[in-house]
Subunit: 148 residues, 12 copies
């Protein structure tokens, strides 16, 4: 059980970090695509937040403990913060794409571990969260493509 807990808690921490980064870009965006990306980032931030409570409660159900504070998040997160005063819209999209890809890789590894440990409900939950993450990756990737 402890192995699953140690694999999932950093994912929750990164979800918090990515949530805040996505809100950061939602708040500080500029340019002609403002409304479109402002809505996109809000939907994606909402989707990330929706994954946190189920994952944390799942960890509690298998007897582990989970996140406790901002400093705890900071200590476990593996996604780098971006405190720049100005980020270009396309760079925002690219940075979120990179963050979501990073977290997706961690989920795939945690699923392998859960399956090895025969903790199927956790694995099942991670599959759903991964599917939602891959949806965000798809959207962000296509936006970065130069098409004309």
């Amino acid at each position: 059980m402890q192995a699953v807990v140690q694999a999932v808690n950093p994912i929750i921490a990164d979800a918090f970090a990515l949530y805040l980064k996505t809100k950061n870009f939602h708040w500080h965006l500029s340019g002609p695509h403002f409304r479109d990306y402002h809505l996109l980032f809000d939907e994606q931030a909402e989707a990330i937040l929706d994954s946190i409570d189920p994952l944390a409660e799942r960890i509690r159900r298998i007897g582990g403990t989970t996140l406790r504070s901002i400093s705890h998040v900071h200590q476990l997160q593996t996604i780098t913060d971006n405190n720049e005063a100005f980020v270009k819209p396309l760079d925002m999209v690219k940075e979120l794409l990179s963050g979501n890809r990073h977290i997706a890789r961690q989920m795939r590894e945690a699923m392998e571990l859960c399956d090895a440990k025969r903790d199927h409900p956790t694995s099942n939950l991670l599959q759903e969260v991964l599917d939602a993450t891959e949806r965000r990756i798809w959207f962000l990737f296509e936006i970065t493509q130069q098409t004309q």
Copy 2:
């Protein structure tokens, strides 16, 4: 304007810190009142989160910038984290009471400032957020009273 921004951003940071602390206790609670306090902490965490986006977008409307990352929250927060492995239920209630009182004090000071700067919509928003905070304080305070 800059003075208002500098007064409100730490409140948003503390709201994040208090949100995570309230979720922490929501997740790690024990004892005969489990369901009752588990629900209470979830309602209070939800109410705290609901105040963050309006405050952050308000800061943007008056031309300021707002929070960007977990490390930015960590740098601005004035509420102390609690990473203890076990906290007694009554101590959880007392610590949240103290945290909400702390953030209420900051809101009162920020409202004074807004009124002085004639930024009435921000003041109005803070009044609503303060009213919700004082509601949480009332609930948490009454729970700590020894009555029998």
Copy 3:
């Protein structure tokens, strides 16, 4: 008809008095069960209030007149007010239990009268209100039991 009117109007007056007493305890409660009983008293107060308009309009349909003012309520009510500054939670529960039992007795007597006078719709309405009152009595009674 006049007999039915004279039997039902004091029930409406007592419903007002019990409604206000239940709100009183909803507002002035303390202790570890705060949220649980605060919600319980609010649900019960709401249920009491919901019985008032149907009973009063029923009296109007059979040609009687019904309550007119706070002083009219005060004159007809048979439930004693409690203006104490502090009441222990368990004493609140016991006092509401006693008030609901009192009003249930009056409803049973009024139903007998309605049946004797062949006013079946009023009797039918009182049966529904009595059933809801007996539900409140059950909840309040079980809470007062010492079980461990």
Copy 4:
């Protein structure tokens, strides 16, 4: 704080008295405008009732105590009861107009006090309640005008 509590509690008491008077007229109305005024009085009674719980809970949040019983209401109310067997529809409208104007005056005074005491959330709540009261006054006033 005590000054605010002493200013707001009589308003709550008058709201109860006005609620019951409005229901009284809702129940005992006659004449060709029956359905129209019957609905109007019900909407207005509902709106008055909706102001009571927020005001009473607000008093609790600032540490005061609030209403406890019918006799407590009776002692604090400043609106006169009307226990007449028959009131003409237009006189009902005029009496409610006068009652709402009376309570609006008290709210304006209480708001001044709150602002002086820097209790902005209470002031803010009273502004909303006053706005709803002034809406009732407008409706009732226009109905009393002779137009043809």
Copy 5:
């Protein structure tokens, strides 16, 4: 059972006749109260129609047969039709008042019969329908009162 069937079917027939008369007045109304009474008659017609299917299905549940056609309604109805080209609004109200009082009398008699035959669910259903009918009577009666 047959006695109950013979008592209830004419009530259903009269409900159809009263429904159509109420719609007639809903459609052919004039004068300054047009919107108010137009809505009132529609609400009352709707309420009458809502009683027909439950009563007819109730008759089927106890093994009887119920209404079959317009001519069947015509043969069983005891409410007189009004095919006048013009009816004054107040006369409309009075005629509906008289029709509802007529149907209420029949329901009271049918309830006596059901109780004598120990068919309680039919009696219970009639009590609810009678209560709704008495509500219509109250509204219509008060409108006809000269008050000023």
Copy 6:
């Protein structure tokens, strides 16, 4: 205008007659398809009823008068009543099919008339009602087909 009124009022009368016939069969049905046809007849009766108020109010908007009573319906209806004690399910379906075809023919004629008189909104309304009628015809027709 008068020509349109004289064409539409018999359609409303037939809608009433067909509504009651469909309810008749809804109530007095038997056999293995009971639930399926019971629901079908109820849906169709509901659809027929829904056409009556718009048609009647349309007649009022163009200055005509419309139906007034059961006897008025009886006088204008062209659909034959069926007061038989027992009707086989398949015969019920066939009789409703015939009734709906009859009323569809009348609607087509009335539409021609409306177009000739340039009363397009009435024609438009009849088109929608006819479309719903043809849907009922389709369902009833297919049920009567011997397929195996």
Copy 7:
């Protein structure tokens, strides 16, 4: 009170037994009417289940105790189980018809007892449950009729 409790608890036990039998047939049905009866049995099972909690809580309100376990149900039930591997659809309908008629008889007897004991709210609740049961009987009976 004890007499009412002893009359109602077997009805609750039979409701459980009939619920499970109806679900049994809902699950193991075959033949061309599959979807129609599958839905019918599900609606009826749902309606039976909906009667259990109100009846059991009613018994608690009058101070009695109610069902505790599968073995308790088994001991009190008077409806025979059917564990056959295959039941023809029409036989399913007939067996449910017989079961609902059995439980309706018990309800009528319990109602007599409640009225004799002046426990009107229980009687009132049983009337509503009986009405729903007689509706199920009507549906099931008509399906068993040979009509063509």
Copy 8:
């Protein structure tokens, strides 16, 4: 196409003018029918506004341009403004009746034109808008009738 555009744009302009006149009377009404007409005018204003966007977007779909500003409305409108400080309620009703009749006439002419130009969807939309307009005319006309 241009002919259709030139026929429909003045209708949109008049809809704006009539909307504002109806709101004007909604706001400045007096007298015993205050609530009833206040609601009526609000419903009618809402219904008029609901026709504007579909008509304007329809003009865009057929390649035309539509209204641009208050001055553009003012230039195209054919309904006279009423800036009187006081208008009697009955005169308000009569003036709205006249305004709606005026706009209905324009719609009938525009429909003729659309049919001649074979632009059926625009004609279809105008039919629905005309039907709603004739409903308002019916209500307003009946209110002006002296009936007693």
Copy 9:
């Protein structure tokens, strides 16, 4: 009737083909407008699909038969498929614009035919579908305009 059937069935086939082409572009889109056009194409695909069942059922109501399979669609469709691996976003918009214009032309011709054959409900349905198609054309056309 046969003529109407032969005119409408190819429209249904083209609606299927256009639905799939719109989904194709919804799925395979790239570039900075990804989210905005992705949503637009989904709304338009949904709107196209919504027109298919009413048109097909309408054909059945007038006694015709309609589409049966993918090969049947393929045989009747007049819109060219696009199986290219990559299409530029602006070319997607232009191709959908062309497809919708093509289908709109067919609808206008079918409406002429329906009117000639006096099948008004089919014509009426086509008017609504055409209006929705012209809305899609407007959106797609404006997107293709070079404006800056």
Copy 10:
């Protein structure tokens, strides 16, 4: 009171003018951002319209009179109309930005006046409307920024 009325009525007139200008651009937009800005302008127009009725009814509650007609709007409005046949999308955004900034300035001045006159509910309402206006300004401003 008169000073408040004179300050608020021009704001209502400008809200009408800005509403129509925003709809103008909603209707006459072109280019690759068509759907995105079309929706944005519609949301903003809706938000502007939502402020008109509360402001106008507020003026009535304090005893003033408010707008009466298109010509009255035209006379009071301070926002310039734009009747150009073609406006570039970015110029539309800039012009709406300028209009919203203009109206925000007026609201700030009116709030000062209300506070000076101690009309707090009007001031409170203006704060909410100003906050919504500043949200529109933020969106429009960010769209005008050149970011890449």
Copy 11:
């Protein structure tokens, strides 16, 4: 397939037994936590019942047969009944905790079997049901902890 059926049917039987035991405690609870645990047991009973129909229908989809009667449940259940007249609240919680742990073990074994038999949809359904069961275990376990 037969192995899966034989593994899942006892789980359904135990779900029925645990459902009834949870309702038993929901009905016969006492003490100061009455409302809180009364609601908790109801939520948990509801969650258990919600798992029964999907599991039973899943067994039917793979060609097996499932539960038929109370006696069938009794024969397959492995959870012991508790028919005691009085159970202390904390003992209720402990007994439900033990029952849920027992059923969770069975689900884990059945999932192993399904995976071995490559029946993935059944396994997937069991994972969801197990996750809900582990949630109940977590709640019940934390309540039994002595914390102060």
Copy 12:
């Protein structure tokens, strides 16, 4: 990844083919079970359509391309079309049963492949779609059974 794409795209193509075949039978059905099967086929067609977008978007998330046109569907589909003018209802059921069994087999094979390739979210999605397919198979199979 490419292997998964090549396994899933033919399933999507068959889903389109089966959707259209199910709608075909929904539209061209006859006989006494018309309404029941008409609804069944519509529910099943809807369920098939609901699986297409998630499967196609899933393929895009893993970097593949998916269906583009009717001809693409036609080329990939493995379900045979049925363009017969008349199909007996029971043959319709049997043919849909066979089509759903065919597509279920393909899903099982694709799931094996996904598991081998460790693409768990796709496998998870296929499990849900397979479960829904097996539900349709169960319904269709039971209908084909001769039971009496």
